[in-house]
């Protein structure tokens, strides 16, 4: 019996909530999707015809999906209490907001550092 099949055997269940975890097969599927998304990302970065904006948006979206899949499935946030998700999301949103503001202040308002060429 391979480990991949072991998830269906309930003989050694110690966790009463075992039935609610994704099976190992499901985890492998998630991993395959992650690998495919990564391949798409890398391929996209090589396509010469794409406008820069399209490329960046595509890359960001793909990264976001990968991020979410690891968080929701591997880190089990999809199945766990929402409290855990809140701790994590608070950190993420705060980081995005404050550092977004800092970079905006530098790039949109600040211009290049004095003394350097644009």
């Amino acid at each position: 019996m391979t480990d991949l099949d072991a998830g269906t055997s309930m003989e050694h269940v110690v966790d009463p909530h075992m039935a609610d975890h994704p099976s190992p097969r499901k985890y492998v599927n998630v991993a395959i999707i992650l690998a495919i998304l990564t391949a798409i990302e890398v391929a996209a970065s090589y396509i010469t015809g794409l406008s820069e904006t399209t490329l960046i948006v595509t890359l960001m979206l793909l990264a976001l999906v990968k991020f979410a899949m690891v968080g929701l499935y591997f880190m089990h946030l999809k199945f766990d209490s929402r409290t855990f998700r809140r701790f994590f999301v608070t950190g993420i949103i705060l980081a995005l907001l404050v550092f977004g503001a800092v970079l905006w202040l530098f790039f949109a308002l600040g211009g290049p550092a004095p003394g350097l060429g644009a």
Binding site: T90, L94, L105, G110
Partner: protein
């Protein structure tokens, strides 16, 4: 459940798990939140005296124009260390001391969520503070200001600013660990029935403070690492020649620095919110409003940081945005002030020392807040910035605010912690000298600041018209020093007199007063079931039905049978040991270019910490008998 305990090998001899509950070794290996709170408090008061001495030297130097008490170089070290000490080694740990002692008691818990992590936080704080101060003896203390603006901080010669970057880094670990501990404790260890909206305001403010620490400390950690890499390893984060941007330092620093000021004030606000109701014999006015206002301050505090940067050239859009957010944050602060006034209004007020400090807090914080709002007006700030007007503002909010609140907390809770009252007579003298001294020192700074006296400058010339007020400020500083002598005398005299306090000397409202003074080691014989906000008050005066009162007082008689089944976390030396590795590694970085074996020292320090952590993880929280 007992099976896994048996597989743990016993440690023998030198490595045996400590069991001492008294004596020096007992204190060094304790994981009891009450003892740790006392250690935090005593250490913070010690550093307050040191930081105060630094202030006295500063004031002596500035009492007259062209002073010769301190050279320019020494002055820079003194004002830098004064700021670092008061912020990181006094106000923050004083807040943590009271949070440590009283959070478990007020929420009905036996200890914090992670007792060994708690001890670790204390030891890291202590070694971090000592490491920072060792700089005075090892070539000079940090001298680039507590805010360490780059590229000055990256290029100042000597080891001072490297001590700054590493010392604050170490202290940051203590703060982060403490924050995690308090968050989990408050969220997860409340007694049955203690819903969030039945928690005392002090607990709420501690929770918000801990979240601020959780998210702000990593930002300054990065800034300090970048500073360290620039100084020790030739990186270019702040090297202008290669495009390094001084504004990056300022943004990272103030992204931490602004939440930091709320970290310093919120615990004091929480303390005052619990003192005023006790001495007005009324519940806090507008509990929900004050809680939400505190949370709002915590959240909005993330949106104002660049108001420390109005003079750097962010441009009109940037400046305006931050001016607006800064003005908005005055709103929840104002709400709290009205709540405090509303609590006193119509109350049956007893003018004991804790109340004096709490009222002093409100009055002085209002003054500090008003000058703060004036900073939000960008053109006005352009005149105020880098002058003594700013120094006036932050001393009113931090000294008049945070320190008055914390001192009030000390007088309020001293009987609970030590079992005897602090003398009222000496306490009142302390308060009035503190109050007069504080206003005499920092009040005139508004004036000389607007007249142009620059801050962070070791002397000023004659003929500026600043002489009289500077002399007054120095007199004020010595008045504060005198008041602290009175406090120390009070501590000693009160201990000698040993006027027994009893469980509830103030006829107070919250759970910590429902047990003996000092509390038993296990806090509660039986974990209370909480029914109301201010449940203790309600038990004393509110309950009329015949239901059996929950047994919550910890006493010496008749409850022995309960204590046998209480498993308290056992002492451990791993937290202390783990803390030692950090300054060792830090010295390796300081002397990286001078010691050929420096990498070994760094590695050795890291190894000590890692091995201690391993031992800690392998050790059960509570030792088997």
């Amino acid at each position: 459940m007992a099976t896994h305990v048996e597989t743990i090998p016993r440690r023998r001899g030198l490595l045996a798990r400590p069991t001492a509950k008294t004596g020096l070794w007992g204190w060094m290996t304790t994981v009891d939140h009450k003892k740790i709170g006392i250690m935090y408090g005593a250490t913070a008061i010690f550093f307050f005296l040191v930081g105060g001495l630094e202030a006295l030297f500063i004031r002596l130097q500035l009492a007259t124009p062209n002073g010769e008490v301190l050279s320019a170089e020494m002055y820079n070290q003194f004002f830098t260390m004064h700021g670092l000490t008061m912020i990181f080694l006094v106000v923050m740990p004083l807040g943590v001391a009271l949070m440590n002692y009283f959070i478990p008691l007020m929420i009905g818990a036996r200890d914090v969520a992670f007792p060994r992590l708690n001890a670790f936080s204390y030891w890291v704080f202590l070694v971090g503070g000592l490491f920072l101060y060792s700089s005075f003896f090892l070539g000079g203390a940090p001298d680039g200001g507590w805010f360490g603006y780059a590229p000055l901080s990256t290029s100042l010669p000597g080891n001072g600013m490297t001590f700054y970057s590493l010392g604050l880094q170490i202290l940051g670990v203590a703060s982060l660990a403490g924050a995690v501990n308090f968050i989990i404790t408050i969220i997860n260890m409340r007694a049955p029935g203690m819903t969030f909206f039945k928690m005392p305001v002090f607990i709420w403010m501690s929770l918000v403070t801990s979240f601020l620490l959780l998210f702000a400390m990593p930002v300054i950690a990065v800034a300090l690492f970048q500073l360290m890499f620039d100084r020790a390893f030739d990186a270019n984060f702040f090297n202008p020649a290669l495009g390094g941007d001084p504004l990056l330092w300022q943004h990272l620093f103030w992204l931490f620095g602004h939440p930091e000021v709320y970290i310093m004030i919120l615990p004091a606000m929480g303390i005052v919110s619990d003192i005023l109701p006790t001495f007005a014999r009324k519940p806090i006015f507008g509990y929900a409003a004050i809680v939400f206002a505190g949370a709002a301050i915590g959240i909005m505090g993330w949106g104002v940081w660049a108001h420390h940067m109005f003079a750097v050239g962010l441009g009109p859009v940037g400046n305006s945005v931050f001016a607006a957010t800064t003005m908005f944050i005055a709103v929840p602060t104002g709400v709290k002030i009205f709540n405090w006034l509303g609590t006193l209004w119509g109350g049956d007020i007893r003018f004991k020392t804790p109340l004096l400090f709490a009222v002093g807090f409100v009055a002085l914080f209002i003054i500090g807040g008003l000058s703060g709002v004036s900073h939000a007006i960008v053109p006005h700030d352009a005149q105020q910035t880098d002058t003594y007007y700013i120094v006036a503002h932050f001393h009113y909010v931090l000294f008049g605010g945070a320190l008055f609140g914390l001192m009030g907390g000390f007088y309020y809770w001293w009987p609970k912690v030590f079992g005897h009252m602090l003398g009222e007579g000496l306490g009142k003298i302390h308060f009035w000298l503190f109050f007069i001294g504080m206003n005499l020192t920092f009040g005139p700074m508004h004036i000389v600041g607007l007249q142009g006296q620059p801050r962070r400058t070791y002397t000023y010339p004659e003929g500026m018209g600043w002489d009289f007020w500077n002399m007054m400020e120095t007199v004020g500083a010595f008045t504060i020093a005198l008041s602290m002598v009175v406090f120390l005398v009070n501590v000693v005299v009160s201990k000698a007199k040993n006027e027994e306090a009893g469980d509830d000397p103030w006829d107070a409202r919250t759970l910590e007063w429902a047990m003996s003074s000092p509390p038993p080691e296990h806090n509660f014989d039986t974990i209370p079931v909480v029914r109301e906000r201010d449940d203790f008050w309600d038990q004393k005066y509110g309950r009329t039905e015949e239901q059996p009162q929950p047994v919550i007082a910890g006493g010496a008689d008749g409850h022995e049978e309960h204590t046998e089944h209480i498993h308290l976390p056992s002492p451990s030396y791993f937290p202390m040991l783990a803390s030692f590795g950090m300054p060792i590694a830090a010295y390796g970085v300081i002397y990286f270019n001078e010691w050929s074996f420096a990498p070994l020292v760094i590695g050795g320090g890291i190894l000590i910490t890692l091995l201690s952590l391993m031992g800690w993880v392998l050790e059960p929280g509570t030792a088997e008998e």
